[in-house]
């Protein structure tokens, strides 16, 4: 059984007990425990079930590489699935639940899959469920999703907070082990601005567990001294609980700080995403031990040798009383020695190397541990827990020589440098034959804009696994990075590390080397996704020769641990099956994040009221207080209509239309774009931008204009007012304000840079209110004595007024066909003017109206709307707007494009009015059908609806549409298809439905 030891546990505060629950069972641990160590201390070895076969699983590692120990943590709004027990710090009241089992962890029905394993080989899903095609989506996938899969998605809204933080440094070092610390010291002493990130809560990495000395002192002393030295340096920042998650182009790195995970309930964010720009990045990310592939290597109680050592030294936890050590290298002997010194039993060390180990092996023998060279595990016995091992010769096929009882197995297949961060941005790797590992090729680093490398690897991550080499390597990396960022490194030698001399490891990819198929089918490579040696071999036989194909076919390395333990073993097995050397097979691509980061940290502050900026006009609050029904228009919120108590949206719109036509309406038009264009060449510039002539406009006058892009398509429209000889105010659509301003600047800065024109976007400087209806003038006259008569301010004119003390510019323009004034005042006085107008208009039954009424009023008059009548493929000529296209001008944007054959094709659909014969409202976007079918067997078409409304003024549906033949077919009846399969008949009519002579806007 696994238990807490009487001694050991250097990271624990044993005076502080913490209570937690696992699957509802109350347990206790100490401050400093990880959830993994606390579970083991409570003899909770079984932690979850595997993905495919639902095999019982326990922890196999002690850090970020852990594939099995995933649990759901927390409840309700704090629930989060797939939390890794080895990287979760224990806290008081933690609640964890195991995943992927039904009905319970101990008795799981899905485990029947393991009995069916020979029917569920790699590629099983693809082969079995491909036919019949339609079954995949509706039958197979839902069932498979139920049986496979890890944690459940949270159901409640996350109540925690998250944020981003931008940091800029010369040298960013990822990994706070002894390599990272030494690199930080070297770079810091050179004066570089250094940020050192460490994913755990502790400094020094695994060095204190592995031992060794630095300059004659124990490595712990080196760590302690270096950390305090770095903390004292003003140019160096140390940040623990922060993982370097990904390296991106241009020295951009994401750091993932787990601020609150270990102290739930504390104020502040739970996670903070560091968005770092670094001159140089040093990956001092260490190395990960590889499992060995022998039968039953997934049974709970089989752990990495280094992990077993970590649990003893760091947490005072023994995984078992009797631990068999199996290895192909010297390092695993340290585990045996550690266990033995703790008084635990190590029945045997199985060293797959025929010649055995070096100094450490000698030490082990001296402690009285039995060491067997050239031996291997044929099979681990047990189901939910290791009960023993069968021993065989590594060279053979697995004939059992001896059985040994044990309750834990410590395995070591050698070490793989963590090259992820080196590789994210394109750093290349070399295969190191002697150590059987991929290590960074310093001559092929990820390069920045200058073509020079901006990432280096240091220490174990660079393949320097032993302390002697590691410190030298890290020191050099720190100095080089400081130099590359313009600093002068000190000429101080690296500290001297010492440890036992290790004899070379020997690659062991399969144990025993000739393992027969029954053993291979139980030799796990990927624990989380249940991929075995036999699956990779099958993939190779079936032609999946590329490592990327084999990965996807078998799903090796595709689980949430991203193959940290399985990838190298997997590609070694693949290489062997393909009879090619490992470097020829290559690795799969390393992609960020290094371990999963929370989605919420990526969203950062962008949630709730900060989710998205909402643009609000100065009159927004009034709308809110007066029954508004909002319509999003870009980032703005505009009133769609205002509902009175008990009123439906349709009723509100109809009331607004009728009242405005009858008496007086008010519209908040503040969102309209307002761009000032000024300069000696302003007229010439606008003549190029608009299809009609603007330069001839006189000060005090307004003109409606159309704007096209270079392809001739209509992109915006609006009223231009001439303010003085060289100043124009261009009104744009709401959505066009920023775009058109950008469009203007682009032409001025790239093409007509020598024209004397300046622009400024004044959209938000003014609140703009449209006062509309027969009583509009009477209302305004109550606020001023100045001349507002038809002569004093004629149609399409503007003038400055003072309205009850507020300076206002009044444009007499109309988008409704009514007598209408658009009044611009400073934004800070917008609400005040609105209130005054409401008061002055009260006697005329003033009716604020929204965008829907605006649309209906303009449609009744046959005015087009950008975005309804246009969709990026429409030219003004399609809309019968020839009158607004100057024939006198030599050029304007879009002129040449509009002369192309396709643009002058008489078959282009043209704008017409449409009136249903039964008075109903045509559906939005409805299509007019024609006889016959096209080449694709689809019904032929001859038109479509672009705008359609119920006109309260006329008491029936009105619409505009683009139709083949256009106005020439006046009076013809077209058939429009409805979604319910029926048709509706509509007659082609003049698009001006109301007040054809335009008398209403001239009310005196």
């Amino acid at each position: 059984m696994s238990t807490r030891l009487a001694t050991g546990g250097r990271l624990l505060n044993k005076t502080c007990a913490l209570n937690f629950t696992f699957n509802g069972k109350r347990m206790s641990g100490h401050a400093g425990d990880t959830l993994a160590s606390a579970l083991l201390a409570n003899d909770q070895m079984l932690i979850g079930r595997s993905f495919k076969y639902h095999r019982p699983r326990g922890v196999v590692a002690s850090g970020a590489e852990e594939p099995n120990g995933l649990v759901g943590m927390g409840e309700g709004a704090k629930f989060e699935p797939n939390q890794r027990v080895t990287t979760t710090e224990l806290f008081e009241g933690l609640t964890a639940k195991s995943q992927n089992h039904w009905p319970s962890l101990v008795f799981d029905l899905g485990a029947v899959n393991t009995k069916l394993a020979r029917f569920l080989p790699g590629g099983f899903y693809y082969k079995t469920f491909i036919q019949p095609r339609a079954f995949w989506k509706h039958v197979y996938e839902p069932i498979i999703r139920k049986s496979a899969g890890l944690g459940k998605a949270p159901k409640d809204r996350d109540t925690d907070k998250y944020e981003h933080f931008y940091a800029f440094v010369d040298v960013l070092i990822i990994g706070g082990g002894i390599a990272g610390l030494q690199a930080a010291r070297a770079a810091g002493q050179a004066g570089a601005k250094v940020l050192l990130l460490e994913q755990t809560a502790h400094w020094g990495g695994r060095a204190p567990v592995d031992g060794g000395t630095v300059d004659g002192h124990p490595v712990e002393a080196f760590i302690e001294n270096t950390v305090s030295e770095l903390q004292a340096m003003k140019n160096v920042t140390l940040r623990n609980r922060t993982m370097g998650s990904g390296v991106y182009d241009h020295g951009y790195v994401l750091g993932y700080e787990r601020v609150g995970d270990h102290q739930p309930g504390a104020a502040g964010p739970r996670h903070r995403l560091w968005r770092i720009r670094a001159g140089q990045v040093i990956a001092a990310t260490g190395a990960i031990e590889r499992p060995l592939s022998f039968a039953g290597n997934d049974i709970p109680g089989v752990l990495l040798a280094s992990a077993i050592r970590d649990y003893v030294v760091n947490y005072g936890v023994s995984v078992g009383d009797r631990t068999v050590v199996v290895t192909n290298n010297d390092d695993a002997y340290r585990t045996a020695i550690t266990l033995k010194k703790q008084g635990l039993i190590v029945p045997v060390i199985l060293d797959a190397r025929a010649e055995g180990g070096g100094e450490l092996a000698l030490q082990a023998r001296e402690l009285g541990i039995r060491v067997e060279n050239g031996k291997a595990i044929a099979k681990v016995k047990g189901h939910k827990r290791v009960t023993g091992v069968e021993i065989c010769a590594q060279a053979g096929e697995g004939a059992v020589l001896e059985e040994i009882d044990c309750d834990a197995v410590a395995m070591s297949g050698g070490w793989s440098p963590v090259v992820h961060l080196w590789s994210h941005c394109g750093g290349k790797l070399n295969w190191d034959e002697a150590n059987a590992m991929f290590r960074p090729d310093a001559t092929r680093p990820p390069t920045g804009a200058d073509g020079e490398g901006f990432v280096s690897a240091a220490g174990a991550a660079n393949g320097a696994l032993e302390i002697q080499e590691l410190l030298k390597d890290a020191d050099a990396a720190g100095k080089a990075a400081a130099k590359a960022t313009g600093h002068s490194p000190k000429r101080k030698a690296a500290p001297k590390g010492e440890a036992e001399i290790e004899t070379p490891m020997q690659p062991v990819w399969l144990m025993p080397q000739g393992a027969h198929v029954k053993l291979r089918m139980k030799s796990w490579l990927d624990y989380q996704n249940d991929v075995k040696v036999s699956d990779i071999q099958l993939a190779a036989r079936e032609g999946y020769e590329s490592v990327e194909h084999a990965k996807r076919y078998t799903t090796i390395g595709m689980a949430t641990d991203q193959g940290k333990l399985s990838n190298i073993n997997g590609l070694a097995i693949l290489s062997d099956a393909l009879n090619q050397p490992i470097p020829q097979t290559g690795t799969t691509t390393f992609r960020p994040p290094y371990t999963p980061i929370s989605m919420a940290s990526i969203a950062g502050e962008a949630r709730d009221e900060c989710f998205q900026p909402l643009r609000k006009t100065p009159i927004h609050a009034w709308h809110e207080e007066n029954g508004v029904y909002w319509e999003p228009v870009g980032a703005w919120r505009r009133p769609y209509c205002y509902q009175k108590p008990g009123e439906s949206i349709d009723e509100a719109v109809n009331r607004e239309v009728i009242n405005t036509r009858k008496s007086l309406g008010l519209l908040d038009a503040s969102t309209l774009g307002k761009i000032i264009v000024k300069g000696p060449d302003a007229g010439r510039f606008l003549d190029m931008l608009y299809t009609n002539m603007m330069s001839t406009l006189n000060p005090g006058r307004c003109r409606y204009g159309l704007m096209c892009n270079e392809n001739g398509f209509l992109m915006d429209d609006g009223v231009v007012a001439k303010l003085d000889d060289e100043t124009y105010l261009c009104h744009t659509t709401t959505g066009g304000a920023e775009v058109i301003h950008g469009h203007m600047e682009e032409w001025l800065q790239t093409e007509w840079w020598d024209w004397k024109v300046f622009t400024a976007n004044l959209t938000e400087q003014y609140a703009q209110i449209a006062v509309v209806g027969p009583m509009a003038r009477k209302t305004l006259e109550k606020l001023t004595d100045e001349d507002l008569s038809a002569e004093g301010l004629s149609f399409m004119g503007w003038k400055d007024y003072t309205l009850d003390g507020i300076h206002a510019r009044i444009y007499r323009i109309s988008f409704s066909g009514e007598l209408s004034y658009e009044i611009a005042v400073r934004a800070s006085e917008g609400r005040a003017l609105w209130d005054k107008l409401m008061q002055a208009g009260a006697e005329f039954d003033v009716t604020p109206y929204g965008t829907e009424t605006l649309h209906i009023l303009r449609a009744e008059k046959g005015f087009i709307m950008i975005g309804d009548e246009t969709d990026g493929t429409i030219i003004p000529q399609d809309l019968g707007l020839h009158w607004a296209i100057s024939k006198k001008k030599d050029d304007f944007l879009g002129k040449r494009a509009q002369q192309r054959a396709h643009m002058t094709d008489p078959n282009r659909w043209q704008l017409v009015g449409l009136e249903t014969l039964d008075g109903s409202v045509l559906p939005e976007g409805a299509l007019a059908t024609a006889e016959g079918v096209n080449a694709n067997g689809q019904r032929n078409l001859q038109g479509r609806v672009t705008s359609t409304y119920h006109s309260a003024t006329l008491g029936r549906g009105i619409a505009m549409g683009l139709v083949f033949g256009g106005p020439e077919r006046m009076g013809e009846v077209l058939s429009f298809a409805k979604l319910d399969g029926t048709d509706v008949q509509a007659m082609i009519v003049d698009p001006i439905f109301f007040d054809k002579d335009g008398e209403k806007q001239n009310v005196r």
Binding site: H164, T237, L614, A827, A832
Partner: protein, 190 residues
């Protein structure tokens, strides 16, 4: 002019820094050849401060000049002084090619003060806010989360932020959120 109200009517919040909407500020966009003596004189004449270098702002209380782009200055002054200043610029630059417009109402101004002001900005803007990189007098046009913003720092290390008026509430919420007690980063202000 008691009717004039700023976007948030001087709302404020006290977190690990103080966040205040600063009320209405007079602002004039002045575009022209910034190398021209006339333009420089017109700007410095109304603002009462020296011409700022590229990427900088010079300010004294409510008045100041900020470098916006190679052909654009932001002239700041008390809200009530804008019309007079515009008249003065117009007179001074008669016959020149330039643009001077009142943008006071298009903007919202915020002030954040306290030891953590730099960190509040660094949570929202992709700007190096360390003491050696961003100094009092520098002026930065950038993005604050999802909206455009500009800011500068006074000698007292308070940060003055300008945003568009329509998104004032969003900006205030961002700042409030970033200044929430307990969310100090301890990186720029160790």
């Amino acid at each position: 002019m008691s009717d004039n109200v700023s976007a948030l009517d001087k709302a404020s919040y006290e977190g690990f820094v103080k966040v205040e909407e600063a009320g209405l500020r007079g602002m004039i966009t002045l575009r022209g050849d910034l190398g021209s003596v006339k333009i420089k004189n017109a700007a410095t004449g109304v603002a009462g401060v020296d011409m700022p270098e590229q990427g900088h702002a010079n300010s004294v209380e409510q008045s100041g000049l900020a470098w916006m782009s190679p052909d654009e200055l932001l002239v700041m002054l008390p809200y009530g002084d804008v019309n007079a200043a515009l008249a003065q610029i117009t007179k001074h630059l008669k016959g020149q090619h330039y643009l001077a417009v009142d943008v006071s109402d298009a903007r919202a101004v915020f002030r954040i003060s306290g030891a953590g002001a730099r960190e509040v900005i660094a949570k929202l803007c992709p700007v190096d806010m360390s003491q050696d990189a961003f100094k009092p007098g520098q002026f930065r046009r950038t993005r604050m989360a999802q909206v455009p913003a500009a800011f500068w720092m006074g000698e007292d290390e308070a940060v003055h932020i300008i945003s568009f008026r329509s998104v004032a509430e969003y900006v205030f919420n961002l700042l409030k959120n970033a200044a929430a007690p307990g969310s100090e980063v301890g990186y720029l202000n160790p």
